[in-house]
Symmetry: C2
Subunit: 303 residues, 2 copies
């Protein structure tokens, strides 16, 4: 039996759980008076679980582009409300069944449901339409407190399974362009990556996916070694826009000018002016056009 009934989490644990750095947590406390953690005997901050939950909501609002000033002081209720307003709404009853399945918590049923939709829609519409809406619906449901984190996790795990399986069935046509696909360090979400991969694969491009968290220099090395035509980067909403821009600028600088640099994902929504030489692709449908444009600009390549 462990005496682990602490009244709260230390700052490091909160950083890991919320994605807000220790520095930010401390400076918010100083500036806005929230969070207002308890203190351990030695002066260490201890964040009560309610405050951690509230911080998670704040984080998502920031990810939507709101500024701390307007958000940090709000109560949980208000945060939920505001987040529901801010999040893209997939429509009222769009994904009712999915959410019910999530609440029941039978992973098989969820996978089956997704599989069914995939079969109905086909890969293209499934990924760029249905899945996008489902993701939004799930995010919305979390914001409203209808589902919890573990249910979100369960969802993305199932999506991942379905997507990977769909791709394994797709013919590998290996036509140009050859695309190196990955994310920068600090990105934790891999769903976007898979969605991009599926679309590219479907349209006959040769995708070489490296998963998440590739340092800039490694992306460059991979592009060279694989003689890729394009480097494609994915950024989730949770990824700091400033880091994205920084990374893309550095990449553009290090990659040969002949190599395309494509970037997409909710993490770039708030970026006013992307670095020169970077193609921002958003929404996902644009990827197909971009692909065709690349090919028609290079008639030498088949496709």
């Amino acid at each position: 039996m462990n005496d682990n009934n602490l009244p709260g989490l230390p700052i490091g644990a909160v950083e890991r759980e919320t994605g807000l750095s220790k520095d930010v947590l401390r400076v918010w406390e100083r500036r806005y008076g929230f969070p207002s953690p308890l203190r351990a005997g030695n002066g260490d901050r201890l964040y009560p679980p309610e405050q951690v939950d509230r911080l998670r909501l704040v984080k998502r609002l920031l990810d939507q582009g709101l500024r701390p000033n307007r958000v940090v002081r709000l109560e949980t209720r208000q945060l939920q409300q505001l987040l529901a307003e801010q999040l893209p709404d997939p429509g009222p009853e769009t994904e009712h069944t999915l959410l019910e399945l999530l609440q029941e918590g039978r992973p098989q049923a969820i996978a089956h449901h997704l599989q069914h939709q995939l079969a109905t829609d086909g890969v293209q519409r499934f990924v760029t339409g249905t899945l996008v809406r489902s993701n939004q619906a799930v995010g919305m449901a979390w914001a409203r407190g209808r589902i919890t984190i573990f249910q979100e996790h369960l969802y993305s795990e199932q999506v991942q399974n379905v997507l990977r399986q769909a791709m394994s069935v797709l013919p590998q046509r290996q036509e140009r362009p050859r695309v190196v696909l990955t994310t920068l360090p600090g990105e934790i979400h891999s769903l976007g990556l898979l969605m991009v991969q599926a679309v590219l694969l479907l349209h006959g491009a040769e995708v070489r996916s490296f998963g998440t968290q590739m340092p800039v220099t490694e992306v460059v090395a991979a592009v060279r070694r694989h003689q890729a035509d394009v480097a494609a980067l994915s950024f989730s909403a949770a990824f700091p826009a400033t880091q994205a821009v920084e990374g893309l600028a550095a990449l553009r600088d290090l990659l040969p000018a002949t190599v395309g640099l494509w970037a997409g994902g909710a993490g770039l929504r708030s970026v006013r002016q992307p670095p020169e030489g970077v193609d921002v692709i958003d929404p996902l449908e644009q990827l197909v056009e971009r692909l065709q444009r690349w090919r028609s600009a290079r008639p030498g390549y088949p496709g």
Copy 2:
């Protein structure tokens, strides 16, 4: 054209790339004189790429259980040497072909190779034997500078594909125990999770995998909601042992006594005494025994 020719990375980027916290980077500098970053005009640290590479090596040595004191001051050469000694050696020529394929960099060929071995070995031996050795071989090759990070990434991406596909073919017998499977926040590696999932699935357990990074309270909620018999946690070598122990203790405290708590992975190697009520399972083969023990202790359940 961007002026991104900085002589080094800021401390935050180094944290993301190496997994060493800003605090650690600064305190090492103070104590050991390494790293010794340049300074920007405003006093900010700028870590040259060579030092970042060296830090990556240091990090892996710490992950092997060595102490900073003995390691931080060493040169790159010595670090590589020492790491080669410390890492478990899968034998001289064991995975020669795999490494050659990795160096060539054709993902298809790698997947094919893995698939072939899977077919030869069967799931059990593939996961607990061949894959473990392959992982070691790849880690070793990186330590020796034979391959780089992006090649490691490519490898784990292929392994992931092969494993997920193998599991999708496996019959879902859904016998007891029902196992909630995940990792704690801060864990970035998901391979271990998949390997465990494959073994459990093969032996007819009902696995509910939630991917990586589940807060302790969410694990508890998931176990309750899913009426699971066991919570299984995976820890990679990169995961701080102290955090693992802390998290496991908290989990044990919050979970009902009737629910088993199984933990495994290289991240627990250095743990002398795990918290009471936690089953440490290492190596992976033990998982099968543990499963059978669980079942024979509960003759009511089929299996």
